[in-house]
C-alpha cells in the first residue's frame, strides 16, 4: 500500500470525479468529494514524510521502468507543491458552489465537485509525474476543468472570461507540446531524468533553444507571468470566489513548479543562466510584474479584480526568486508558493464571505463591513498584512529570503525595489481597510457574519498564514532543503 502512494495520489481524485457523476445526490456527493480531497491531502502528507525520511521516491507506472514506461518521481520539491495543492483543495472543496453562485442549481452541484476533483487531479499530476509528455496531458486536464469552474460564476461575463482563459490556456498548452516535441526530436526520450542526462550533449543545437523558448512561453502563459497575464484578472474576477481561491492558490503555483523543473532539472542553470543568460530578462519581467500588477491593483474598484492583479504582482516575486539561481532566492520563491497560497486563498475566501452576504464584491459596497462582519474583514485585513509582508505573517518570511538573495547577489537596487513594491501592497490593502472600517455602513449592509461553512475555511487559511509566519520549519525549512536539492542537481 505504502509503495503505491504516488499513484494513489493521482488515481483517487481522478477516479473520484466520475464517481461523483454516478452518486448525483447532493449530500452524498459533498461527503464523498470531501472525503476524497482529504484523503488526497493525507497521502500528500504521508509522501512528504517519506521523502523527508528516505529521499526521492520513484514509482514506475504499471511496472514499466523508465525510460520506456512513465514514472512518478517525488522529491522534496514536488512533495512540497503537492502538499500545498491538495491542502488548499481539501479546505476549499467542501464550501461547494451553492453558497454564493446562482448558476449551479442544487440538483447539479455534483458536476461542480467532479470538475473540482478533476482540476485537483490534473494539478497534482503535473507536479508528480517524471514524464514530460504526461505533464502536458495533466496540464490540459487541470486547465479544462479550470475553464468549466470559471464559467460557473454568477455573472454572464464569467462565460467570456472562461472563453478567453480557454483560448490563452490552449495556446500555452500547445506551446508546451511543441517544446516537448523538439526535446523528443533531439534526445529520443520523454523522461525528465533521462532528458537531463542526454540534453547537455546537444545544448548548442538551435532546436533545443527553440524547445526552451516554446516551453518558457507556454508555461509563462499558465503561470500568468507578466506580460502573459491578461487572462488572469478576468478569470479570477468572474469565477465563483471559492474557485478563485482555489485557482489562485494552486494553478499558477503548479506552473511555477513546472518552470523550476524545466530550468533547474531538465535544462540546468548552466544553460539557462549561463549560455542563454536570461536572468536579467527574467528580473526585468519580474520587476515589471511586481510594480505594474500592484499599481493596477491600486486602481481597481472590484475587490476580486484587485486581488487578481495582486496575484500578478506576487507571481513576480516568485519568478524573481527563481532568477537569482541561488539557494536563498529559490527558497524565497518556493516558500512564497505556499505562503501566497495561504494568504491569497484566505483572502479570496473572505471575499466569498462578503459576496455570500452582500451579493457584490465592489469595494464601494464594503462600507462599514468592518463593524457588520468583523470576523470576515479581520481575516481579509490579516491576509492583506501578509501581502504587505508585515512581520509575524508569512509574507514577511518570503520577503526576507528574497531580499537576502538580492543582497547576496550584490544587487542592492533590486533588493530595494522588492521592499518598495511590497509597500504598494500596503496602498491597495489600506484602501479596502479604510472603506470597511471608517465609512458608515450602507442601509442595505448585512447584519451578521457569513455562514460558518465559509468562515471556517477562511480562518483556517488565514490562521495558517499567521502560524507559518512564526513557525517556519514546515514551510521555509522544507523549501530551503528542496532548493538545495534542486541546485545540487543543476550543478
Amino acid at each position: 500500500m505504502i509503495e503505491h502512494l504516488p499513484v494513489l495520489q493521482i488515481v483517487i481524485p481522478l477516479l473520484g470525479a466520475p464517481v461523483c457523476l454516478l452518486l448525483r445526490a447532493r449530500g452524498a456527493v459533498l461527503v464523498f468529494a470531501t472525503a476524497v480531497a482529504w484523503c488526497t491531502f493525507a497521502i500528500a502528507l504521508a509522501s512528504i514524510g517519506i521523502v523527508l525520511e528516505q529521499g526521492e521516491v520513484v514509482y514506475a507506472l504499471g511496472g514499466w521502468v523508465a525510460p520506456l514506461g512513465i514514472e512518478y518521481r517525488i522529491d522534496l520539491l514536488n512533495a512540497f507543491v503537492i502538499t500545498v495543492v491538495s491542502g488548499v483543495g481539501a479546505i476549499v472543496l467542501p464550501i461547494g458552489p451553492g453558497i454564493h453562485g446562482h448558476t449551479v442549481s442544487a440538483s447539479r452541484e455534483y458536476l461542480y465537485y467532479a470538475a473540482f476533483l478533476l482540476c485537483m487531479a490534473g494539478l497534482l499530476g503535473v507536479a508528480i509525474t517524471g514524464d514530460i509528455f504526461n505533464v502536458f496531458v495533466f496540464l490540459e486536464i487541470s486547465s479544462l476543468a479550470a475553464y468549466t469552474l470559471v464559467a460557473l460564476g454568477n455573472q454572464r461575463r464569467a462565460l467570456r472570461a472562461a472563453f478567453s482563459y480557454l483560448v490563452m490556456g490552449t495556446i500555452g498548452g500547445t506551446f508546451v507540446l511543441i517544446g516537448i516535441g523538439f526535446l523528443y526530436q533531439m534526445t529520443g526520450t520523454l523522461n525528465m531524468a533521462d532528458l537531463a542526462r542526454l540534453l547537455p550533449a546537444v545544448l548548442d543545437n538551435r532546436a533545443v533553444h527553440a524547445a526552451f523558448a516554446f516551453l518558457l512561453v507556454g508555461v509563462g502563459i499558465k503561470l500568468a507571468v507578466f506580460p502573459l497575464h491578461q487572462w488572469l484578472p478576468n478569470a479570477y474576477t468572474y469565477a465563483p470566489p471559492a474557485v478563485s481561491a482555489f485557482l489562485a492558490a494552486t494553478a499558477t503555483k503548479v506552473a511555477y513548479y513546472l518552470l523550476l523543473r524545466l530550468v533547474f532539472t531538465i535544462f540546468g542553470i548552466g544553460f539557462v543562466f549561463g549560455a542563454l543568460g536570461i536572468a536579467p530578462l527574467l528580473q526585468v519581467i519580474s520587476l515589471a510584474a511586481m510594480f505594474i500588477g500592484a499599481l493596477a491593483a491600486i486602481n481597481q474598484t472590484d475587490l476580486k479584480r484587485l486581488l487578481a492583479y495582486s496575484s500578478v504582482s506576487q507571481i513576480g516575486y516568485m519568478t524573481l526568486g527563481l532568477s537569482f539561481g541561488s539557494v536563498a532566492g529559490l527558497t524565497g520563491g518556493l516558500v512564497h508558493v505556499a505562503n501566497h497560497a495561504l494568504m491569497k486563498g484566505g483572502m479570496f475566501l473572505a471575499v466569498a464571505c462578503i459576496v455570500a452576504r452582500t451579493g457584490t464584491s465592489a469595494i464601494a459596497d464594503l462600507r462599514g463591513l468592518g463593524r457588520r462582519m468583523p470576523a470576515t474583514m479581520a481575516a481579509f485585513a490579516l491576509g492583506g498584512l501578509g501581502l504587505i509582508g508585515v512581520p509575524l505573517t508569512v509574507g514577511f518570511i518570503s520577503k526576507w529570503y528574497l531580499v537576502l538573495a538580492a543582497i547576496e547577489a550584490g544587487q542592492m537596487l533590486l533588493a530595494f525595489a522588492i521592499l518598495v513594491s511590497s509597500l504598494l501592497a500596503a496602498v491597495y490593502v489600506w484602501r479596502v481597510v479604510e472603506v470597511a472600517w471608517f465609512q458608515e455602513p450602507l442601509q442595505s449592509a448585512p447584519h451578521g457574519e457569513a455562514p460558518l461553512r465559509l468562515l471556517i475555511p477562511t480562518w483556517v487559511l488565514i490562521g495558517a498564514s499567521l502560524y507559518f509566519g512564526v513557525a517556519t520549519d514546515l514551510t521555509a525549512g522544507i523549501a530551503a532543503q528542496a532548493a538545495e536539492q534542486l541546485l545540487e542537481v543543476a550543478r
Binding site: I388, G389, I397, I407, A415, F416, L419, L423, E434
Partner: protein, 489 residues
C-alpha cells in the same frame, strides 16, 4: 519565577489584559479595573528584573526561530531595562488619566481603545527586551500597526488622513530602509544578535558603513529624524492619552531606543568614533533639533507645538548616539527617561485643558492659570524640565549630552544644545506666562465657578508625573549606574 519567565510574563500580561478588556467590554468600570490591575502587575514584573540587571545579569528568553541563524528572542540589558521601566511605569499613570479623559471627553469605542492600548504596551516591551535586530523589527512593526487604530480613533476625515500619514511614513521608512539595513547587516556580519562592542567592526568599510548607518537612522522613522518627522504631528489627531503615552513615550522612544541600541550593540561606539562614520548624523540631528524648535515656536495649536518640541528633543538622543562618546550615549539614554516624564506631563496638561475648557490653541490660554492652577503649575514644572533647569530631571541628561559633545571635541554641538534650550524657553514659557499673568479673555470668569479643573482622574496623574520630573533629578545617579555597562564603565 525566574528572570527569563518574568520577561515572558511582562510581555504576556498586557496581551492577556487585551483579552480581559475585550471580555469585560460591556462593563466599563470592570474593564478599567482590568486595565489598571494589568498595568500595575506589568510594572511590578518589570521592576522585579531591575536588581538582577543592575547586578550585571542578562536574563534571556528564546521564542522561536523563523530563519536559520535569526531567532525571535528576548535578552534584557540596561538600556532596554530603562525603556521598559519608563514605558510600563507611565502606563499606570496614563491608564488613570485615560479613564478620566475618555469619560470626560465622551469618546466612543472605549473598549477598542483600551484593548489596542494594551497591545501597544506589549509591543513596546517587546522592543525593549529584543535580543537581536529581527526581534526588534518584529515588535517595532507591531507597535506601528496596533497604534494605528488609536491614532484614527475618532474616525473623522482628519483622523483618517492623519492615520494615512502615520502609517505611510512609518511603514515606508521601516520597510524600505530599516529592513533593508537589517538584512544587509545580517549578510555582512553573519549575525543579527546585539553584542556588546558591536558586530560590524572589520566587516564593512567606510562609505558602505556610513550608508548603512543612514539606512538605520532614517529607517527608524519612529525616531522622527527630519525629514521623516511628518507622522508625529499627524498623529496628534489621536485622543490625548495616546499622544501622551505613545507619541511622547512608547512609540517615539522605541525609535530613539532602537537608534541607541544599534549604535551601541551593532556598530559599537568605538567603531563609529574611529571611522568618523557618524559625523554627518550629528549635523542632521542638530538640524533636526533646531528646525523643529523653530517650527514649534510658530505653532499655535498646543498639541502640534508639543509634537514639534518632541521632534526636537528626540534629536538630542540621536545626537547623543551619533557623538559615540560614553557621556553622549549615557546622556542620550538618560534623556529617554527625562524627556518621557516631562513630555507626558505636558500632553496630560494639554488634554486636561481640552477636557475642562475645550481649548486647543495657545492663543486661547490667557488667564487659565486661575481656573486650572494644578494643571498649569504641573505644566510649568514639566516645561522647566524640558528646558533643562535644575532641580529637574532634564538638566542631567542635557549636562551629559553637552559633556559628550565636549569629549568628542565638538564644541559646535554644545552651542546647538544651548541654542535649543533657549528656543524651548521661547516655545514653552509664553504658555505659562499667558496662563498666569494675562487676564482671561472672557473677562474674569463671569459665570461658573472660578476653579474649573479637569476631572480628578486627569489632574492627579499629571501632578504625579510633574513630581516625577523632580524625583528624576535625584534619581539620576542611579540611572547613570544602570546605564554605565553600556559604555563599558
Amino acid at each position: 519565577m525566574t528572570d527569563a519567565q518574568l520577561l515572558g510574563v511582562a510581555v504576556g500580561l498586557p496581551l492577556a489584559g487585551t483579552l480581559g478588556v475585550i471580555a469585560t467590554g460591556r462593563r466599563p468600570n470592570l474593564r478599567e479595573g482590568v486595565t489598571l490591575v494589568v498595568a500595575v502587575l506589568t510594572f511590578a514584573s518589570v521592576l522585579q528584573l531591575l536588581p538582577s540587571v543592575m547586578a550585571g545579569a542578562r536574563p534571556a528568553l528564546e521564542l522561536a526561530t523563523p530563519f536559520p541563524g535569526a531567532r525571535l528572542a528576548f535578552e534584557l540589558e540596561p538600556l532596554g531595562m530603562l525603556y521598559a521601566l519608563v514605558a510600563s511605569g507611565l502606563w499606570i499613570v496614563t491608564s488613570l488619566y485615560a479613564i478620566g479623559y475618555m469619560r470626560g471627553h465622551h469618546e466612543g469605542h472605549q473598549t477598542r481603545f483600551f484593548a489596542f492600548f494594551a497591545v501597544s504596551i506589549a509591543a513596546a516591551l517587546g522592543v525593549a527586551f529584543s535580543a537581536n535586530l529581527l526581534t526588534l523589527f518584529v515588535f517595532y512593526e507591531l507597535l506601528t500597526l496596533c497604534t494605528y487604530p488609536l491614532v484614527t480613533h475618532r474616525g473623522t476625515a482628519e483622523a483618517i488622513a492623519g492615520g494615512r500619514t502615520y502609517l505611510g511614513i512609518l511603514l515606508t521608512t521601516s520597510v524600505a530602509f530599516f529592513l533593508f539595513a537589517i538584512l544587509w547587516t545580517g549578510f555582512v556580519a553573519g549575525t543579527l544578535e546585539f553584542t556588546p562592542g558591536g558586530i560590524l567592526e572589520g566587516k564593512i568599510a567606510g562609505t558602505a558603513a556610513a550608508v548603512l548607518l543612514a539606512l538605520y537612522a532614517f529607517g527608524i522613522g519612529k525616531a522622527a529624524l527630519m525629514p521623516f518627522h511628518r507622522w508625529l504631528p499627524a498623529a496628534m489627531v489621536a485622543p490625548a492619552p495616546v499622544s501622551a503615552l505613545l507619541h511622547a513615550v512608547a512609540v517615539v522612544k522605541a525609535g530613539v531606543f532602537s537608534v541607541l541600541k544599534i549604535v551601541v550593540y551593532v556598530f559599537g561606539i568605538d567603531f563609529l568614533a574611529e571611522g568618523d562614520l557618524s559625523v554627518w548624523l550629528m549635523y542632521v540631528a542638530a538640524a533636526s533639533i533646531l528646525i523643529a524648535s523653530i517650527i514649534a515656536v510658530t505653532r499655535d495649536n498646543l498639541k502640534a507645538r508639543l509634537a514639534y518640541s518632541t521632534i526636537s528633543q528626540l534629536g538630542y538622543i540621536v545626537l547623543g548616539a551619533a557623538l559615540a562618546t560614553p557621556a553622549g550615549v549615557i546622556g542620550g539614554g538618560m534623556h529617554i527617561a527625562m524627556h518621557a516624564m516631562g513630555k507626558i506631563t505636558l500632553f496630560f496638561c494639554a488634554g486636561a485643558i481640552d477636557v475642562a475648557l475645550h481649548k486647543q490653541k495657545v492663543s486661547e490660554l490667557d488667564g487659565i492659570g486661575r481656573q486650572m492652577p494644578f494643571t498649569m503649575v504641573a505644566f510649568a514644572v514639566a516645561s522647566l524640565s524640558i528646558i533643562g533647569i535644575p532641580p529637574l530631571g532634564g538638566s542631567w541628561s542635557k549636562w551629559y549630552l553637552a559633556l559628550g559633545a565636549a569629549d568628542a571635541d565638538r564644541g559646535f554641538f554644545v552651542f546647538v544644545l544651548m541654542a535649543s534650550s533657549l528656543l524651548s524657553i521661547a516655545y514653552l514659557m509664553p504658555i505659562v506666562g499667558r496662563a498666569f499673568f494675562r487676564p482671561s479673555t472672557q473677562g474674569a470668569a463671569p459665570e461658573g465657578p472660578a476653579l474649573k479643573e479637569a476631572p480628578l482622574l486627569c489632574v492627579v496623574p499629571l501632578c504625579l508625573t510633574a513630581a516625577g520630573s523632580v524625583a528624576l533629578f535625584f534619581l539620576a545617579p542611579q540611572i547613570k549606574a544602570l546605564l554605565a555597562p553600556l559604555v563599558g564603565e
